[in-house]
Amino acid sequence: MTELFNTALTPWEWTQLISFYGIAALMIVAALMVVTLRNIFHSALGLAAVALGAAAIYLMLDAEFLAFVQILVYVGAVVTLIAFMVMLTQRASHGKLVRQSNDQKTISFIVVLSLFALLIWKIPTTVWNTTVSTGNLADAKTLGTAFLKEYIMPFEVISIVLLVALIGAIVLARREPK
C-alpha cells in the first residue's frame, strides 16, 4: 500500500487520474442512459449528469469560468427546457411511443461504430502540438477581454442569434389567438 503511494506519481496526479477516469466512466454511463432509456425524463436526468460531468472536466482543465457557465446553461437552462418539453408532451412520450428507436438501428450502429473505430485508431497515433503551460492560464478576465476585443463581432452576432432564437421560439410556441 505504502509503496504504491510512493511511486512516481504525486498525490495530486493521483487525484487527477482517479477523478478523471471516475468522471469519464460516469459520463459515459449517463450518456448511454440518455440514448437508451425508455423514460425520456430519465434520459434528461442523464443529460444533466453528463453536463455536470463535463463541468467537472472543465474544472480539471482549469476552465473555471466555463465550468460554472456550463452548469448555469446546461443544468439551469437546457435540461430544464428539455424537462419542460417532456412534461408538455408527456402523453406522446408515454402513450404512443411503444418503440424507442427507429428502423435504422442496426445500420446506424454499424456506421457509428465504424466512425468510432476510425477515430479511435487515429487519435492515439496522432502527434498533437501540445505546449507546456507556463505563466498565467486563461482566466475569466482573459476571456472577457477577448470577447470584447478580438471576438466582438462573433460575440455580437451570437447575441443576435440568441435574440432571434428567443423571438422565434415565442412565435412558434404561441397559440394563435382565436
Binding site: N102, Q104, I107, V111, V112, S114, L115, L118, L119
Partner: protein, 653 residues
C-alpha cells in the same frame, strides 16, 4: 477717420438705407414715405458736392478695400471721383433730387406710393455704384441693379399687361447686352488680371497684341444694351409704360446714359482701336438716324420723346466712336438736363390733360403757361439753337466727327447733320402741336400742375438753357479742359473752331423748325399730303421700321419653339431612354418569361419527365424522415474521414 474719402461710401449707402426703410415700413408711412427718399437723394447730392469741388481743383478722390480673396488673389473694390465721375454725380444727384420732388406731385394718390419711392431710392443707389465704381465689377453690379430698378419701375403699374411685358422686354434686352459686358470683364481679367480702370489703362497702354478688338466690342455690347443702341434699342420705347418721372430720370437722363459713361470711362480700350471704334460709331450713327426717322411720325408724346432719346444717345455713342471722348460726355450732360425737362414737361401735360396723344392736345400754352415755357426752353436746347446747351454739345460732336480718324467719318458727319435737321423738325412738331394753335379736343380740361411739379421744371429749364455755356468758346472751353483730367492717357489737343460746321448745323436746325412751322402752324404744307406722297416711307416710319415684328418672327418665335422642342426632346428622348431602358428591361423580362416558359421550361419539363419516370425508383430514398438523412450525412462524414486518413498516410509514407 472722418475725412471725405471715408464718407464716399455713404453717397450710395444713404439711398440704400432709404430703400430698406421704405420697403419694410413704407406701407405704414403713406405719403410721408416720399420725405425719406427725397431726404436720401438730397443727402447724396450734398455729400457729392465736396467731391465735385475737389475735381474743380484738379484733384481726384480714390478709396478701395479688399472685397475678397479668391485663392491667393485679392479682389478689390473701390470708389473714385474724378472729373468724369463728378459730372455724372452732378447729373444724377441733382436731376435725381429734382425728379424725386416732382414725383411727389405726379404720383400723388397712387396706391403703391411708398413702393415707388423705395424703387427710386434703390435706383439711386445702383446708379451711384456705376458712377462711383473704380472697376468693372462694381460697375457691372450697379449695371445689373439699375436694370432691375428699370424693370421694377417700368412694370410699376403691373396690372396693365403691356407694362408687365415692357418691363420684361427691357430686362431681357439689357441682359443680352450684359452678356457682352460680362464676357468683356472675363476677357480683361484673363488678359490683364485686373478690372480696375486705372490699372487697366496702364496695362493696355503697354499692351502690344491685337486681341483687344473683341473685348472692346463685347464691352460695347453692354453699352448697346443699356443705352438702347441698335439692335437692342427696342426696349426703350416700350419702357414708356412706366410713370413719366421714371422715364425722365431713368430712361432719359441717367440710366440710359450709363452706357455712354461706361464707354467713356473705359475709353482707353477703344482708343487707337480703329475696328472697335468703327463699330461703335456706325452703330451710334445708325441708331441716331433711325430713331429720328421714327420720331417724325409718332403721335404719342412720350414715344416721340423716347425715340428722340434714342436718337440723342446714338449721337453720343457716335461721338465716342469717332474719338470724341469729351464730346460724348458733354452731350450726355446737356441732354440729361433738357431731356429730363422734356419728359417732366410731358408728364405735366399728361397730368393736366390725361392723354398722351398729341393730336388731341393743342393750345395748352394758355392753360399751362409754366409747363409751356419750360418746354420751350428744352425745345430750343435740343434743337441746337445757339447759345443754348444743345447747340454747344452737338457742335462739339459734329466737329469731332468731321476731324475723326475713323474711316468714313464724312459720311457719318453728313448723316449726323441730317439727323439734326430731323431732330429740330420733330421737336418743333411736338411743341407746336401740343402748346400752340387751338385745343383740338374739347373734352380735355387741362389745368396747370401744382407747384411741387412746376418748380423743378423751372429749375431744370434754367440749366437746360445755360449748362452748355461752360463748354462754349466764350468760356474758353473750360468744361473740356476740366473733363480732360479724366483721360490722362489722351493727348489734350487744341479745339479749333470750325465755323463751317457750326453754320451748317444752325442752318439745318432752323430749316427743320421752319418746315414744322409751315406744316403745323401755317398749314401751307399739309402733313397728310406729305405722308401720302411718301406713303411707304411714312408707314415704315410709323411702324418703327417693323423691328418688333422682325425680332418676333426671327428671334423670339424660333427661340420659344426651340425651348418647346427641347422639352419634348427631354420628355420623349432623354426620359424616353430612361423609361425605355425600364421598358426594355421589362420587355426582356417578358421575352425571358416566354423563352423560359416554352424553351427552357420545355427542356426542363423534358428532363423533368425523364427524371420523374426515373425518380419513381430513386425517390424512395427521400423518406421525409430526418434521421435517414442524418445517417447518410454521417456515412459521408465517415468516408471523408477515411479518405483523409488515407491521404495523410500516403503523405507520411
Amino acid at each position: 477717420m472722418l475725412n471725405y474719402t471715408n464718407l464716399i461710401p455713404l453717397i450710395p449707402l444713404i439711398p440704400l438705407a432709404s430703400f430698406v426703410i421704405l420697403i419694410l415700413f413704407g406701407s405704414r408711412m403713406k405719403e410721408k414715405a416720399a420725405y425719406v427718399s427725397i431726404g436720401a437723394a438730397l443727402a447724396a447730392f450734398a455729400l457729392s458736392v465736396p467731391g465735385i469741388m475737389m475735381t474743380l481743383k484738379h484733384q481726384s478722390v480714390h478709396m478701395e478695400w479688399i472685397w475678397l480673396y479668391l485663392g491667393d488673389r485679392p479682389i478689390k473694390m473701390g470708389f473714385m471721383i474724378d472729373s468724369l465721375t463728378a459730372m455724372m454725380l452732378f447729373v444724377v444727384t441733382f436731376i435725381g433730387s429734382l425728379i424725386h420732388i416732382y414725383s411727389v406731385g405726379y404720383m400723388h394718390g397712387d396706391k403703391r406710393f411708398s413702393r415707388y419711392f423705395a424703387y427710386l431710392s434703390l435706383f439711386f443707389f445702383s446708379m451711384l455704384l456705376i458712377v462711383l465704381g473704380d472697376n468693372l465689377i462694381m460697375v457691372f453690379i450697379g449695371w445689373e441693379m439699375v436694370g432691375l430698378c428699370s424693370y421694377l419701375l417700368i412694370s410699376f403699374w403691373f396690372e396693365r399687361m403691356s407694362a408687365a411685358r415692357a418691363g420684361m422686354k427691357a430686362f431681357l434686352a439689357n441682359r443680352v447686352g450684359d452678356v457682352g459686358f460680362l464676357l468683356a470683364i472675363l476677357s480683361f481679367f484673363w488678359m490683364f488680371g485686373t478690372v480696375n480702370f486705372e490699372q487697366m489703362a496702364e496695362k493696355i497702354h503697354q499692351y502690344q497684341g491685337t486681341m483687344l478688338v473683341i473685348p472692346a466690342v463685347l464691352l460695347f455690347c453692354g453699352a448697346v444694351g443699356k443705352s438702347a443702341q441698335f439692335p437692342l434699342h427696342v426696349w426703350l420705347p416700350d419702357a414708356m409704360e412706366g410713370p413719366t418721372p421714371v422715364s425722365a430720370l431713368i430712361h432719359a437722363a441717367t440710366m440710359v446714359a450709363a452706357g455712354v459713361y461706361m464707354v467713356a470711362r473705359s475709353f482707353f480700350v477703344f482708343h487707337g482701336n480703329i475696328e472697335a471704334m468703327q463699330v461703335v460709331s456706325y452703330i451710334g450713327c445708325f441708331t441716331a438716324f433711325m430713331a429720328a426717322t421714327i420720331a417724325l411720325t409718332q403721335t404719342d408724346i412720350k414715344k416721340v420723346l423716347a425715340y428722340s432719346t434714342l436718337s440723342q444717345l446714338g449721337y453720343m455713342v457716335m461721338a465716342l466712336g469717332v474719338g470724341g471722348y469729351i464730346a460724348g460726355p458733354f452731350h450726355l450732360m446737356t441732354h440729361a438736363f433738357f431731356k429730363a425737362l422734356l419728359f417732366l414737361g410731358a408728364g405735366s401735360v399728361i397730368h393736366g390733360t390725361g392723354t398722351q396723344d398729341i393730336r388731341q392736345m393743342g393750345g395748352l400754352m394758355k392753360k399751362m403757361p409754366i409747363t409751356a415755357w419750360t418746354f420751350l426752353a428744352a425745345f430750343v436746347a435740343i434743337a441746337g439753337l445757339p447759345p443754348f446747351a444743345g447747340f454747344w454739345s452737338k457742335d462739339e460732336i459734329l466737329l469731332s466727327t468731321f476731324n475723326s480718324p475713323v474711316p468714313g467719318h464724312l459720311f457719318l458727319f453728313a448723316v449726323g447733320l441730317f439727323t439734326e435737321a430731323l431732330t429740330a423738325f420733330y421737336m418743333a412738331r411736338v411743341f407746336f402741336l401740343t402748346f400752340l394753335g387751338d385745343a383740338r379736343d374739347k373734352e380735355i380740361h387741362a389745368h396747370e400742375s401744382p407747384l411741387v411739379m412746376t418748380v423743378p421744371l423751372a429749375i431744370l429749364a434754367f440749366f437746360a438753357l445755360f449748362i452748355g455755356l461752360p463748354g462754349s468758346p466764350m468760356a474758353g472751353h473750360w468744361f473740356q479742359h476740366w473733363l480732360q483730367q479724366s483721360f490722362p492717357y489722351m493727348h489734350a489737343h487744341e479745339i479749333h473752331l470750325n465755323f463751317g460746321v457750326m453754320g451748317a448745323s444752325i442752318f439745318l436746325a432752323l430749316s427743320g423748325i421752319g418746315l414744322a412751322y409751315l406744316m403745323y402752324i401755317k398749314g401751307t404744307i399739309s402733313p397728310d399730303k406729305v405722308a401720302q406722297s411718301i406713303r411707304p416711307l411714312y408707314i415704315y416710319s410709323l411702324n418703327k421700321w417693323y423691328w418688333d415684328e422682325i425680332y418676333g418672327m426671327f428671334l423670339i418665335k424660333p427661340f420659344l419653339w426651340s425651348t418647346n422642342a427641347l422639352y419634348a426632346f427631354d420628355v420623349w428622348i432623354v426620359d424616353g431612354v430612361v423609361n425605355g431602358a425600364a421598358m426594355v428591361a421589362r420587355g426582356l423580362g417578358f421575352l425571358q418569361f416566354i423563352f423560359d416558359k416554352y424553351i427552357v421550361d420545355g427542356i426542363v419539363n423534358l428532363f423533368g419527365w425523364v427524371t420523374q419516370k426515373s425518380s419513381r425508383i430513386v425517390r424512395l430514398v427521400q423518406t421525409g424522415i430526418i434521421q435517414n438523412y442524418i445517417l447518410l450525412l454521417v456515412v459521408g462524414l465517415a468516408l471523408i474521414v477515411w479518405f483523409k486518413i488515407l491521404e495523410n498516410m500516403h503523405a507520411v509514407l
